[in-house]
Amino acid sequence: MSIFIDRTDRVLVQGITGGEGSFWTKHMMELGTQVVVGVTPGKEGQSVEGVPVYHTIRRAVAIKPANAAMLFVPPRFTKDAVFEALDAGIKKIVTIADGIPLQDAIQIRKAAISCGARVVGGNTSGVISPGLAMMGMFPYWIERVYTPGRIGVMTRSGSLTNEVTAMVVRAGFGVSSLIGVGGDPVPGTRFAEMLPDYQADTETDAVVIIGELGGTMEEEVADAMLSGVFKKPVVAFLGGRTAPAGKRMGHAGAIVTGGKGSVKDKIEAFEKAGALVADRPRMVGDLLAKIMEAR
């Protein structure tokens, strides 16, 4: 069993005719993902990798039912595209857009919650269960990162995911399901909201959290551990430990505001909850080895 996406999901791709849309549609299918239909307004009648394209989601799903939507749509049109997917009753949505307006992101998350849907992203590479399926853009062919295995990974950063996951694999492990929640201040889905899925997943033994300064998502994971919602071992790696106060470090969400979001606070919360915190990427592999040996 995998989390969020497997080979039974029927994926619709919004923005399928664009450069990124067509490139990653090809790779999603090559990995085994069922991409059934595409949407780009004005491009109905075309096809991409054998996938038919329609003007609107309403027209697309009338002919090719889909239960998941993958968005390759620019940030300024992302709110519209997410709402179009929600309107069609789609409950699994992934958006890679980097640069979604903040107040749009609030509206997107609110709408997803009220529809009982899950929007992952923006500013993410997406979701992958190596060897099975993906929604997003992961170079799954790089074996020293995307090796199937029994470690769950959740992350706020694409580049750091490659860096840290390579250390997981180097230590002799592999990845069950990887969820990129994204680097924005208001991600559609938060770390802690995925924990019940990882808890229930019989193919995940432990979870690696790749976080950074800013926001409170890491603290929410610690809370879920303390309250018993999540009982599997957690190894956390956090970027921005030495970041100067008040500076935005790369990601829009990577900033300490209103006295909240320092890495120091996050480490404290994790340690109190019994998670292991790695100082350096390499330590993630070492700590996992220690945990798994003890089990």
Partner: protein, 389 residues
């Protein structure tokens, strides 16, 4: 983008929030004129984006025209102003202050709402309040689509201790602040302090307005302007759309991927090195290696440290750019490169062809860069002839 106080107050005034009578001045003579217009005493406030202006001596209540003249001169032409990059001052009428409050609107990412914060003790930074007296902070979540409802404004007004007359003034002020928050696509609007005058009127003593950069396209496409940045190179990077932070150390980071660049920054600090600049040329900028290196070289770094692990930002294309940058810019300092990800085999060939020794481990690359920077400090002459590593 964080706006200057005078710009925030203009935006407040447009929506009907009471602000003191004021004038923005760029020269000492303008300031002296403005002081005469406002009457004495009055406030002279340097327009800088940093917080804690009071403690830094960058705002002052002046009591005579001689004092006003000398202070405006210190800020606009003297070393005090120069040290903080002061280009403009705001001359403002004095307010008869009875109470100071705190009021702001931001977002609550978890609840997916807007969030109003208020406190009866104004004039203190909210970070300070959150630490010392969190129970004093009044919070009200506001649905971003429904908007601020009058009962929510009343909840806050009564919690702040206003009487019936005060509530009548506070509710419309908060409604106006809400309008600014929505209309400007703000990350944060803040009035701190919000003055209650001796006669019970409300006046915005300070103003902070941070506009979401991702909304710039629908906010009149405000181009970045030099005055918002602390160095020329930071400004040039912003124009280019390249995330950049200025520091004053030895090692220029020219990395791809926001999360990875932040971790490289940490690792350099762990290893006892120092960062000259944080530059991230991943994402949409991965073909801009030449421009990125040009920006790094402005800092005359002891080492340029390149670390990437890209997907869409393909390693081979970044390596081509780096080779072109080296040929074009002929950097004298050593370059440490650790480029992995899509197309890395070809990238390695490209880097070797221009005399680099590509590494594959981030921590090893950081250690090497720190060692080279230290060696360069110990023996400056050897860097000139030492070539690249």
């Amino acid at each position: 983008m964080k706006l200057f106080e005078y710009q925030a107050k203009d935006a407040f005034a447009e929506r009907g929030i009471p602000v003191p009578k004021r004038r923005v001045c760029e020269t000492v003579s303008q300031a002296v004129e403005a002081v005469a217009e406002m009457g004495l005493p009055c406030a002279v406030k340097s327009q800088v984006l940093r917080g804690g202006r009071g403690k830094a001596g960058l705002v002052k209540l002046v009591k005579s025209s001689a004092e006003a003249h000398d202070y405006a001169e210190a800020l606009l032409t003297g070393p005090l102003g120069a040290a903080h990059g002061v280009k403009k001052v705001l001359v403002e009428e004095a307010v008869d202050i009875a109470r100071e409050l705190y009021l702001s609107i931001t977002v609550d990412p978890q609840a997916a709402t807007a969030l109003i914060l208020a406190c009866a003790d104004g004039g203190v930074e909210i970070e300070e309040l959150a630490r010392t007296a969190p129970e004093k902070i009044i919070r009200e979540k506001v649905d971003i689509d429904t908007g601020l409802l009058p009962f929510q404004a009343r909840n806050i007004a009564y919690a702040l201790g206003f009487d019936a007359d005060g509530v009548k003034k506070f509710v419309p002020l908060l409604e106006s602040l809400w309008a600014v928050f929505r209309a400007k696509d703000a990350e944060l609007v803040e009035i701190n302090p919000l003055f209650v005058t001796g006669s019970g009127a409300l006046v915005a003593g300070d103003g902070k307005l941070v506009i979401d950069d991702n909304s710039a396209f629908r906010q009149g496409g405000a181009e970045p302007s030099r005055e918002y940045f602390d160095s020329d190179v930071a400004y040039e990077a912003a124009v280019e759309g390249i995330p950049y932070l200025q520091f004053d150390g030895d090692i220029s980071l020219m990395c791809a991927g926001a999360g990875l660049t932040t971790v490289v920054y940490d690792l350099v600090n762990y290893e006892g090195g120092s960062v000259a600049n944080y530059l991230e040329f991943g994402g949409p900028n991965y073909k801009k290696a030449v421009r990125a290196m040009e920006l790094c070289l402005v800092n005359d770094p002891k080492v340029i440290l390149i670390v990437t692990f890209g997907t869409i930002a393909r390693a081979d294309i970044m390596a081509d750019g780096i080779a072109e940058a080296i040929a074009k810019l002929k950097p004298r300092c050593p370059i440490v490169a650790c480029i992995r990800g899509t197309g890395e085999e070809k990238a390695v060939e490209t880097l070797k062809a221009v005399g680099l020794e590509p590494l594959f481990d981030t921590e090893e690359a950081v250690r090497k860069a720190v060692a080279l920077a230290k060696a360069s400090t110990e023996d400056k002459t050897s860097t000139r002839s030492g070539g690249r590593s």
